[in-house]
């Protein structure tokens, strides 16, 4: 919850600009009334709220380009937004910017099994692509928990993860090309679309740039063959330490599970008390969901080895999902854990730190100790296999003392993870929420290099202002540094 300077430069978009925008995208697709804008004042990080100056909903890349050109000419900042499911405030409209939402760019343009790729507009919902291709034996592998709602364009901007990234990689490993509208309004194509492109890997740099390099309008993505066989195991543990030791040992044993997730008791109880109940036992300290996939002949043996490791670490039982229905139910419950936690209290502080896997047991112990020290309840549900923690704290934002304790505990947890050799975000991005943690892991010189790249894409700083890199980092390449920030 970083302090963000409330700015006053653009209270409303001037009427003639609104008229131009309406001419570009159609009357209905420019929202300017405060009650219409209210939905857009935050994303899934609900604690920071900023009303946009307007919301524009273009339908095509050309319309996005036209909108960007109109706004850039007026020096009005703009913030790209997909489905608004981001957890770090990446699409909050700071500086009274205009939100450009890509939801209407929602067509799957091409599915090409021979080349194992699909071309989609950026507003296509993640799960829709896998639904379209799974009857043919393919899927789009990155599967963030919000995949029922989030857009592929948003995934590209955030370099989104998901449980199955452990084996299949992050979004960046699945994007072959993107069409983007640069902050100048120019439409360019980055990446070779499946062939090696010459020159700097601009595509690689763009993925994960959180909407500060431009607006994705189209993506060419890899399609991955569905595995021949899948085995999903549910390990029941009476201590978190036993569960985390099992995780470390499974990885160290050379097993590469498709997913390896941990859910602690606080999370289990939240989930089982919600409509998303997955039939999890509520009398255990932690559960591991271990998914092994691949050739049917290979997974039997790997699953047996994983079971053996769990039992050696005192698992009370290891269940194997008996069919697809049971597997789907387990994953449904896992992926809705954040939603279930949101019901416990008014607000939820979501963390996303990553630690080296070998440090799981001691770091988890310390996280529970930190929470206890600040009299808070922490619920851990996370991608244990790649050390990507989600220690979440439910609290009541109206209680000032509790808010203060949440902030202190969050910072302590983050420092703990960084000291263990980890990072501040594994898949949710920096956005606005983690911006003040950047200097825990990057020096000024490191961030200056990031700005040196950002300023090539976004020299005016108009595209998604005040995200990712703290504005207090003065920099010789900066055209939108501290001075401008203060002026605003």
């Amino acid at each position: 919850m970083p302090p963000i300077a409330e700015t006053t430069k653009y209270q409303r978009v001037p009427q003639r600009v609104v008229d131009d925008l309406k001419a570009a995208v159609g009357e209905r697709f420019v929202l300017t009334e405060p009650d219409e804008l209210l939905v857009y004042e935050a994303d899934a990080l609900t604690v920071i709220k900023h009303l946009p100056a307007a919301v524009v909903l273009p339908k095509t890349a050309e319309e996005v380009s036209a909108v960007v050109k109109i706004l850039a000419a007026e020096n009005i900042p703009f913030t790209p937004r997909g489905a608004g499911t981001g957890l770090t405030g990446g699409s909050i409209a700071f500086n009274h910017s205009v939100i450009i939402e890509t939801a209407r760019l929602n067509r799957i343009l091409k599915i090409d099994y021979e080349n194992r790729l699909a071309v989609v507009e950026s507003g296509v919902i993640n799960v829709h692509l896998s639904q379209a291709t799974s009857p043919y034996g393919f899927h789009y592998a990155p599967d963030p928990s919000s995949q029922m709602a989030c857009t592929i364009g948003g995934n590209v901007s955030q370099n989104s993860g998901g449980p199955h990234c452990l084996k299949y990689g992050m979004t960046t490993n699945h994007i072959l090309a993107v069409e983007v509208v640069l902050p100048s309004g120019e439409i360019v194509n980055l990446g070779g679309g499946g062939v090696d492109a010459a020159g700097y890997d601009l595509l690689g740099a763009f993925v994960g740039s959180e909407g500060t390099f431009g607006i994705v309008t189209k993506a060419t993505v890899k399609l991955t063959r569905l595995p021949q066989g899948v085995k999903t195991l549910l390990g029941e543990f009476m201590t978190v330490t036993d569960a985390s030791r099992s995780v470390s040992e499974i990885i160290a044993a050379g097993i590469v599970p498709a997913a390896l997730e941990m859910i602690d008791r606080a999370t289990i109880i939240a989930v089982e008390n919600s409509i998303f109940a997955g039939g999890f036992p509520t009398d255990v300290a932690a559960l591991l969901i271990i998914e092994i996939d691949g050739l049917s002949v290979g997974i039997e043996d790997e699953a047996a080895r994983a079971v053996e490791i769990c039992l050696r670490h005192h698992a009370r039982a290891v269940r194997i999902a008996k069919d697809d229905a049971e597997r789907t139910k387990l994953w449904g419950a896992r992926k809705r854990a954040f939603g279930a936690m949101g019901r416990i209290n008014a607000d939820l502080m979501v963390q996303d730190a990553v630690i080296p896997r070998s440090k799981l047991p001691e770091v988890l112990d310390e996280i529970y100790a930190i929470a206890a020290r600040y009299s808070l309840n922490v619920a851990n549900v996370f991608h244990a296999g790649d050390g990507n923690l989600h220690p979440n704290i439910s609290y009541d934002g109206r209680n000032a003392d509790e808010v203060r304790r949440v902030e202190l505990a969050s910072k302590a947890i983050m420092q703990l993870c960084v000291e263990a050799g980890g990072t501040i975000t594994g898949e949710h991005g920096v956005g606005a929420d983690k911006i003040n943690y950047m200097e825990l892991i990057f020096s000024d010189a490191d961030m200056e290099r990031m700005l040196a790249v950002k300023n090539v894409f976004n020299p005016t700083g108009l595209c998604n202002p005040a995200k990712v890199i703290p504005a207090t980092k003065t920099c010789r390449y900066c055209s939108f540094g501290l001075e401008d920030f203060k002026k605003n």
Partner: protein
């Protein structure tokens, strides 16, 4: 350069010791003869050397084992070759985390020997891999025959320590594989061919060594039969980590062979070999190769550039690779070629005189471009290199790329001229 050689040499010798600053006579990079070869011993020394070179306005050519010095376009200037071969410490290797931090001069071969004893590896086998340094592999983003199964350096570099031409230092990425903090600058540095900064440390993620590996070589009377078989294999349940078609690399009557490699658990490898055998009717000859033989053949398949004076690499959409491969073979029947049917990469080496080579390469590039692909020149005589761009066009993206180059190397001192768009 705005400083005479002797005074630059003495400034550098003061930093890293006179033994590691050599006046060069023997090493020629196309038409250029760099004045000095320097071998700093640490990241700090690299950084300090760069600052001195920048002040002298001396062009710096980063190097590892010095095998890729002539890659890309002919250099415009070359004053100092800076080799990181003395930066060869494995700084940290944590097997339980499948992660290592190595200095850029560590040879892949030496590193693999160390990780193998822990049952892990860095699954990269780019051309010339044996002596290549990990820094050079990252800088060139070079991939080999394992690419279908395991990817490229871009998938394994999770962090970098960099020395910049202005004498500053920075880091990108981190020590954990899953990391979205800040911009992913690893991707920009990887494959930048020493034109943005010098890598001094590389953080890599590792994979468990597969339990078993098997290479199967299949031959048939005609190329068409092999291509058809390859298509059926690709459509079946088996998941080879490499699937190559080769021409002129094996000793068979037709000169063509289909190579398959499986790496997994022993049971899964055995199952896949049986599945493939089930797809063969009488007209194919198939054999599993002994380990050494297989390794030699895979090496040959990606090191085609060693087999003749001219070598090119085409990257084309998967669906067109067999068609383009056939065209490549028709255009140049008596040559050495391989096609990575799982990735869409074709490597071709051929002997020719300059004029003929120029025409062939132009032809092949237009073939590649027509299907939406690219052609990179891996080896060519100086005259031909001067006449053709090694990389091909980058079009509308040149502006963004030049902007980045300008911000990282404003004086244009790092490998000037080698990269795309004259950078």
């Amino acid at each position: 350069m705005n400083k005479d050689h002797a005074s630059l040499a003495s400034s550098l010798a003061a930093l890293i010791g006179g033994d590691y600053v050599t006046k060069n006579q023997a090493l020629h990079l196309q038409e250029l003869t760099p004045t000095l070869i320097i071998k700093p011993a640490s990241a700090e020394q690299v950084r300090a050397c760069l600052a001195v070179c920048a002040e002298a306005d001396a062009a710096v050519i980063p190097a590892g084992a010095m095998t890729w010095l002539e890659g890309g376009n002919p250099l415009r200037r070359a004053d100092v070759v800076l080799s990181v071969e003395r930066l060869k410490r494995v700084i940290e290797y944590s097997p339980p985390d499948l992660m290592a931090i190595v200095e850029a001069g560590v040879a892949l071969r030496d590193f693999q020997a160390q990780t193998r004893s822990a049952g892990q590896w860095l699954p990269l086998d780019p051309a010339g891999a044996d002596g290549s340094t990990i820094g050079a592999i990252a800088a060139t983003a070079a991939s080999g025959a394992l690419r279908l199964g395991f990817g490229t350096p871009r998938d394994y570099v999770i962090g970098l320590r960099l020395a910049h031409i202005d004498g500053t230092e920075s880091r990108s990425g981190g020590r954990v594989a899953k990391n979205v903090a800040g911009y992913d600058l690893n991707k920009l540095y990887v494959g930048s061919f020493g034109t943005l900064a010098l890598m001094t440390e590389v953080n890599v993620k590792l994979r468990p060594l597969p339990e078993a590996s098997a290479t199967m070589m299949i031959t048939a009377a005609t190329l068409a039969r092999l291509l058809d078989l390859a298509r059926r294999i690709r459509a079946s349940a088996v998941q080879p980590v490499s699937i190559f078609l080769t021409a002129g690399l094996t000793e068979h009557a037709s000169g063509k062979a289909l190579l398959l490699r499986f790496m997994e658990s022993a049971a899964a490898v055995k199952y896949q070999l049986q599945e493939v055998e089930g797809l063969l009717e009488g007209e194919f000859q198939a054999a599993c190769l002994a380990v050494e033989e297989a390794e030699a053949l895979w090496k040959k398949a990606v090191n085609t550039d060693e087999l003749a004076d001219y070598a090119v690499r085409l990257s084309v959409p998967l669906a067109t690779v067999t068609e383009v491969f056939q065209q490549v073979l028709t255009r140049r029947a008596a040559s050495f070629a391989s096609a990575d049917l799982g990735v869409g990469i074709i490597r071709l080496a051929f002997p020719a005189d300059d004029q003929e080579a120029l025409e062939i390469i132009r032809d092949l590039r237009s073939t590649a471009t027509r299907v939406g692909g690219t052609l990179f020149i891996e080896g060519a005589a100086p005259k031909v290199k001067a006449a053709l761009d090694a990389w091909g066009e980058v079009g509308e993206l040149a502006k963004l790329m030049r902007g980045i180059k300008q911000n990282f190397d404003p004086q244009g001192l790092l490998s000037p001229g080698r990269f795309v768009a004259g950078m």
